[in-house]
Amino acid sequence: MLLIPCPWCGLRDESEFACGGEAHIARPKDPDALSDAAWADYLFMRANPKGWHRERWHHVHGCRRWFNVARHTVTHAILESYKVGEAPPDPDAPTAPAKRKRSARVKDSG
């Protein structure tokens, strides 16, 4: 069971959350301008990386806020959680996440 850092509530058990899938998929501004294929891509196609994955989580049994988490799909290590609208962390630039003071951070437990 993951230990997820909610940006508002701190570290909480996974059982309090619901996962909302891949993050940073913006709703197209003008859906009519999209071909059926492009719209289907927005609707259905999701990344399935082996490695770092940015995904949305909902603290559904807590503060009810949606936020983003950078999680490693192999080790399940969580690099950082960050609020909606904040830029995702770059796992290859280890100094970058520290700049965001308001976000909760956990160390890669390895």
Partner: protein, 1003 residues
């Protein structure tokens, strides 16, 4: 003497932990026996000379106790009786108590005379994978075979009633969790605890010490158990250390989460409190000191009672003062097993010989054995075991590591101690993705690397010398505490030990059986998997470890192959002509040992299994004899039967009353969300497929929500209470999901919109009044409200006082009648309800339940999301296309013009009316164009179907391909499953059966 195999006091080693002063009586297979406190069921049975304790899984061969711990593959017993019985418990894990009752699991009629043993003689018919091969034809016969196989192969019986025990859960955080309280674990816990870290130390056994409880060895010049007692006492005195005995860590999960089962009363059922406790521990760092598990050698008839792991023999001698035999032979490929010979000799047991597959063993232990006068046969192997229900001798021959040669020589013995080396217990390590590497010298898999905060120490890491174990544990305990953020200086853990160095073991798994022999050499005793089975699997192409496991069931028993797995992989590798590591290993998954469901459920059983939600009017419903149905977690009245009434009568009466006089429904369970803020109208405009922004204050509108794929996900009523305030309803079961859906879009896509969403489902109690007399009734109770159709038209909302209670009154209807949904704060719900019932009496008011509600709405063709829809229904499919706004974008709009959602030939909502007025089509029935033998083209299916008392015939709603175009045609409700198959003609109609102009609702 009542316990003929118990060591006499003068031969009992200092390490023994039984209390001879007290005698315990217990029953095994109906016979009475005696043991002592400190015994396990296994040690007590051995003390009494009970050799056969079980029958094997497949061949029903007699089996004896093979091991001394949780790795036991044979001695699975049924413990206790009745509702409290526990099946498949290893006798080695059962601590003896007065009055214990147990029996062999897998035998009939008795363990000594088991009819199933014919399977042993019929074994050529039962090769590996036999059920895949043998029972596949004729098709359909499998059901019969399965019944017979299950009867023959079952292990244990389920309890005959609800579990009478209670179970607990405990949640803990700690800095360092140490699993295993052997020398390495104790050293780790001491080192971590001395820094002041919060430490939890858990061990399966009733006392700490691990292997020190079983061995004659010394630490600091005294018996090693004294050292473990001192260490345990120090840990007990540390304020932040918790020592858990009888506690098995059964699984390690992500982020330091560990599940442990503490067996609180299993060793003495008379103790008060819960039987077991599930510890859910979140550890910053984990130290695994899980020790090692001895593995057998594989040779002919190595499963006979009396054959036992050499380390287990030492356990029985040193810890339980039991000699598992009178005359012993030790058969091994390593130095460690010689200690068994020496300990047996010291306990006064006659040791016939040590058989060593190696040539000229010259290590310290073999040297001591020779010095003690024990004959050693090197370059030799056991090639046969005499005796069926107990070993009474063995045959040995010369062995060069591959083949046996020379004359066979017979040796007498009734105990055969076997050792094929030790496997580090890496199970828990693998649970969190730990990778293994193969160590050729130990011929074992060792922990290699992991990203989890886990350290493996001592024998579990392949360090078998006591000094190494303690040093390793102490170092890991300290660094674990440091890594957990505790950096206080602490006194180092030290111990003075004189270890005896050991020479390498031989990498030998199997002594081959000569061709044509009827003997079997077992790899996995629990599953009756033989070396021949593994070679068969290899011949048939099951090369990878995971494939061979599934084909042969290697390692799939209750013991999960703790003793035999690596030997099995070794034999499989040899059969494939490859080196062992190239096959891979099978995956270890939780639980390490079986976990009872009761412990996982804890207190969350019966009434606490799932929360029950009741409306404020619930007591009235109960008193009125309502029959309830579960809707999500809600209890809703389904109907209110009167004396002598069946369900159909009651529903019919309720439906008629709602159409002829006035009906009353508890609608409190409907999901309710209040949306408030300057952008509320704009936000809802994006959420609903219909227009919301132009809704005037005081008016209501039916709304549909679509997913982005264009499919209907929910419906409800939107009421505008003020310019910036809306009251939304959702379907009862969907309330939480829709709340999450709205929050999702508001928070993640449009965070700049100023809208607050509040779930107010429980805030409001709602009484829904409908029928031709509804207005008259409400007028009586709300004299200040102008209820005239002009002042308070259909689809509008007013705030006012009803029955003296401040209320929101919604003029909406789900029945097609004039209707008022009266919402009052929940605490006034019951008062409102009873006032309505009393005042309604002279109007003929009749409370109705959800079933009448369903019938009434179906008469009007109103859909229920989740009943008519199934996640593939667009508004147009439901005949609601006119609701879809053309002036704005909304969730799902783009999908409505995708080729497939806009295509013809989709299923559309229609009504069905059968020619036979009594026929009520089954919900879910398929619709076809005309009767025919299957396969038939399916045109659609019945989604709702009822007997309509108002109309006097059955009505149904259906989703039918091109349904609207087929109105007036005849389709057939298919019931080919009946005998003879039934095909009932039905006329396709518009979905609305009653008052299609909607006069009554607007009146």
């Amino acid at each position: 003497m009542s316990q003929p195999y118990r060591l006499p006091p003068e031969r009992t080693p200092e390490t023994a932990r039984i209390d001879r002063g007290t005698t315990l009586a217990f029953t095994f297979n109906g016979e009475s026996w005696r043991g002592h406190p400190g015994d396990t069921l296994a040690s007590a049975l051995l003390a009494n000379g009970v050799a056969v304790v079980a029958r094997s899984f497949k061949y029903h061969r007699p089996r004896g106790i093979f091991a001394a711990g949780s790795e036991e593959p044979n001695a699975l017993v049924q413990l206790g009786a009745g509702a409290a019985t526990v099946p498949n418990v290893a006798a080695t894990r059962v601590e003896l108590y007065e009055g214990l009752i147990a029996g062999s699991a897998n035998c009939w009629p008795s363990v000594d005379f088991d009819l199933g043993a014919v399977a042993d003689f019929a074994s050529p018919l039962l090769p590996a994978g036999f059920y895949y091969k043998t029972f596949m034809a004729p098709s359909g016969a499998w059901r019969l075979y399965e019944y017979l196989i299950r009867r023959a192969a079952g292990i244990g019986r389920a309890p005959d009633g609800a579990d009478p025990h209670t179970y607990d859960k405990a949640n803990r955080h700690c800095d360092v969790l140490v699993i295993g309280a052997g020398p390495a674990g104790l050293a780790a816990a001491l080192a971590a605890g001395r820094t002041g870290a919060r430490v939890i130390l858990a061990d399966e056994q009733p006392a700490p010490g691990g292997r020190l409880l079983d061995e004659r060895c010394e630490i600091d010049g005294a018996p090693a158990v004294r050292w473990s007692e001192t260490a345990a006492a120090e840990l007990e005195s540390q304020p932040d250390t918790i020592c858990l005995a009888r506690t098995t860590a059964f699984g390690i999960y992500d982020h330091g989460f560990v599940g442990l089962i503490e067996r609180r009363t299993d060793h003495d059922p008379g103790l008060p409190g819960p039987r077991q406790r599930l510890w859910r521990v979140r550890a910053k760092q984990i130290v695994l000191a899980t020790g090692a598990i001895e593995r057998p050698l594989v040779f002919a008839d190595n499963d006979r009672p009396g054959a036992m792991l050499a380390g287990a023999v030492r356990t029985y001698v040193n810890r339980y003062a039991v000699a598992p035999g009178k005359q012993a032979v030790v058969f091994a490929n390593n130095d460690d097993a010689y200690r068994t010979a020496l300990d047996l000799r010291a306990a006064g047991v006659d040791v016939t010989a040590v058989i060593d597959v190696r040539s000229g063993p010259d290590g310290e232990w073999p040297t001591r054995a020779v010095a003690a006068g024990i004959p050693v046969f090197d370059s030799s192997a056991v090639v046969g075991v005499h005796g069926r229900s107990r070993v009474d001798g063995i045959a040995i021959r010369a062995f060069d590591g591959k083949t046996v040669t020379g004359e066979s020589r017979q040796l007498e013995c009734d105990l055969l101690a076997v050792s094929g080396g030790w496997n580090p217990a890496v199970h828990l390590y693998c649970h969190v993705g730990g990778k293994l590497r193969f160590d050729p010298e130990l011929a074992a898999y060792l922990p290699d690397r992991t990203s989890a905060p886990v350290r493996v120490v001592g024998a579990a890491a392949g360090k078998f010398l006591l000094a190494d174990c303690i040093a390793d544990g102490a170092a890991a305990g300290l660094t674990a505490a440091n890594d957990a953020g505790v950096r206080k200086k602490a006194v180092a853990v030290s111990a003075r030990i004189e270890d005896v160095d050991e020479r390498p073991q031989a990498s030998i798994w199997e002594i081959p059986i000569p061709p044509g022999s009827r003997s079997k050499s077992f790899v996995d005793l629990a599953d009756d998997v033989t070396a021949a089975d593994l070679r068969l699997a290899a011949r048939e192409g099951y090369v990878a470890a995971e494939h061979a496991k599934r084909y042969t069931t290697l390692g799939m028993g209750p013991d999960q192959g703790k003793t035999g797995n690596v030997a099995g992989l070794g034999i499989l590798a040899a059969a494939n002509g490859v080196a062992l590591p190239s096959l891979g290993v099978t995956t270890f998954r939780p639980p390490y040992t079986p976990v009872t469901f009761g412990a996982l459920a804890g207190r969350d059983v019966d009434a606490l299994a799932d929360p029950v939600r009741r409306t404020p009017m619930h007591r009235w419903h109960e008193r009125s004899g309502a029959a309830f149905e579960d809707v999500g977690q809600w209890k809703r009245p389904h109907h209110y039967p009167r004396a002598g009434e069946g369900m159909e009568d009651a529903v019919g009466r309720e439906c008629l009353a709602a159409r002829r006089a006035v009906g009353l429904l508890d609608a409190s369970t409907l999901g309710k969300i209040e949306a408030h803020g300057p952008d509320a109208a704009a936000f809802l405009d994006r959420i609903y497929c219909n227009d919301v922004a132009d809704l005037r204050v005081g008016r209501c509108r039916y709304g549909l929500m679509l997913g982005e794929d264009g499919m209907v996900i929910d419906d409800g009523v939107i009421a505008r209470l003020a310019e910036d305030r809306f009251h939304l309803t959702t379907t009862t079961g969907n309330a939480a999901r829709i709340m999450g859906w709205l929050e999702n879009w508001l928070q993640t896509e449009w965070p700049d919109m100023k809208v607050y969403l509040t779930s107010v489902t429980e805030h409001w109690a709602v009484a829904s009044v409908c029928g031709p007399l509804a207005r008259a009734l409400v007028a009586e109770l709300a004299p200040a409200l102008d209820l005239s159709p002009a002042a308070f038209p259909h689809m509008s909302v007013r705030e006012g006082t009803v029955a003296g209670i401040a209320a929101r009154v919604f003029r909406v209807s789900f029945t097609g009648e004039t209707g008022y949904e009266i919402a009052v704060p929940a605490r006034f719900g019951l008062a409102l309800w009873t006032t309505l019932v009393t005042a309604g009496e002279r109007h003929g008011l009749t409370p109705y339940g959800t079933e009448a509600m369903h019938v009434l709405r179906a008469e009007k063709g109103y859909v229920i999301v989740g009943q008519e829809t199934d996640g593939t229904s667009t508004p147009r499919d439901l005949g609601l296309g006119r609701m879809v706004s053309r002036r704005k974008d909304f969730l799902g709009r783009r999908s409505l013009t995708r080729a497939d959602t806009a295509a013809t030939g989709r299923k559309e909502l229609v009504g069905l009316r059968t020619v036979d007025p009594k026929f009520v089509a089954p919900e879910g029935a398929h619709l076809v164009a005309k009767p025919a033998d299957p396969p038939i083209e399916m045109l659609g299916h019945v989604t709702s179907s009822y007997r309509s008392a108002n109309l006097g015939h059955g009505i149904a709603l259906a989703m039918l391909r091109d349904g609207r175009r087929r109105i007036g045609e005849t389709v057939y409700v298919a019931q080919p499953e009946l005998s003879p198959g039934r095909w009932t003609p039905a006329e396709v109609t518009a979905p609305c059966f009653f008052d299609p102009e909607g006069r009554r609702i607007r009146d």
